[in-house]
Symmetry: C2
Subunit: 239 residues, 2 copies
């Protein structure tokens, strides 16, 4: 009775489990292939609900979601991107600058909407559970919300790209974000004509996927890692 | 021909999409209900592979995964937790201290393994794409890996709890983590007898889920939010 077994051990059945892995493995940081049609409110609300169900330190739920559609405002954000990219290009190693300048790193205007996910650092003033020693945990909680949004979007066929080449102070001014709130992620969101089979930065030779076994350690940092686990990580079993 | 439609718009079919939402909505920050049996290497390798497929700024993949099983080492980590909780309790508002002290906030010894997910801040020294203006992006990438791990674990029936009440410096000493590496998340991982229907902190009256519509803004921070979207967020449509 596989169904009973599936319930008793709390795991999903194989089809459902594969779907979760599929969202994780086929999610992309999308900069190209956006289609212009707007998203239904019902779909966008589901994605935001997914974000809102992220874990948060002390159940703080520090996030807000600013939906940005106005083209003039987005054009200003894209100008911020252009400025920041120009500055960043100068910090890139000489032999990689030409490649850097060719990369497509945002879809601010091509996507039908932008979403800024923020972290209100004052939301748990009265009950900072879990933040005394690690005050950055509220920012991390907000990142978990971003990743929930991203994976739900993949399942809905919606592309998401995170634009981090922006001056935060300038972005805060443009979006009227007060001092105690941090714009954690600026996302481009929309339906796409396709999801790339591998990350763009891999396709364009910027980087390669590191071998997972090399990243696994045991007991302490630089601990060699268990051979049986590293072997399993080298050839992950079909689910 | 719904199958063809599903392919052409890149979305998952309804069953698969529901599975992704189910992982998101039923994931819990687990502190109780851990069962002691060890995890198969094959399962743990899949979870780590899911983590390794997180987005990362400039395809930096800054993470490492330290698998900690030794009970003596874990006992020392739990001692760090006890110290940190005692300190944190003193910062909690008077009327909430008794509740705070009653909360179960870790499963370090009850779970069969602990996992520290770290961020190596030096990994992209030669190509800091996307970090000139927001150097914390590597930490955020690592958090995305944590959330991937957490959701894949939920689908596998495995509970995960993030312990943030720890002194980072002391944890680094205990795990031999060098200066340029940040221990982003210390996780308790294992099979569970059940997943709680709602977050523990909600059950125990520490906090309540905020209404999603109140968190949605439009165009700028404190922008009122689009009524149609807020309405959809109030009553999310069945998928």
């Amino acid at each position: 009775m596989p169904a009973v077994h599936a319930i008793s051990d709390n795991s999903f059945d194989t089809t459902a489990r594969d779907a979760v892995y599929r969202a994780i493995f086929t999610r992309r940081d999308v900069r190209s292939h956006f289609r212009p049609e707007p998203l239904d409110d019902a779909v966008l609300a589901r994605l935001l609900l997914a974000a809102h169900h992220a874990p948060s330190v002390g159940f703080m739920q520090p996030w807000n979601f600013i939906v940005i559609r106005d083209r003039e405002r987005r054009r200003k954000v894209r100008d911020l991107f252009f400025d920041a990219r120009r500055q960043e290009a100068e910090t890139i190693a000489g032999d990689r600058q030409a490649l850097y300048r060719k990369l497509k790193l945002e879809g601010i205007l091509e996507s039908p909407l932008n979403l800024c996910i923020t972290c209100d650092r004052s939301r748990s003033q009265n009950s900072p559970l879990g933040r005394s020693h690690n005050p950055e945990m509220d920012l991390y909680s907000t990142v978990c919300a971003v990743q929930n949004f991203w994976l739900a979007a993949r399942a809905e066929g919606i592309g998401v790209g995170w634009v981090s080449i922006l001056d935060s102070g300038a972005l805060k001014s443009l979006l009227g974000i007060p001092d105690h709130v941090v714009p954690v992620a600026y996302l481009c969101v929309g339906r796409v004509s396709e999801f790339a089979p591998v990350p763009d930065l891999e396709t364009h030779g910027w980087g390669r996927r590191l071998p997972l076994p090399d990243l696994i350690m045991s007991e302490i940092f630089a601990g060699a890692g268990e051979e049986s686990l590293k072997s399993a990580a080298r050839h992950p079993s079909p689910r």
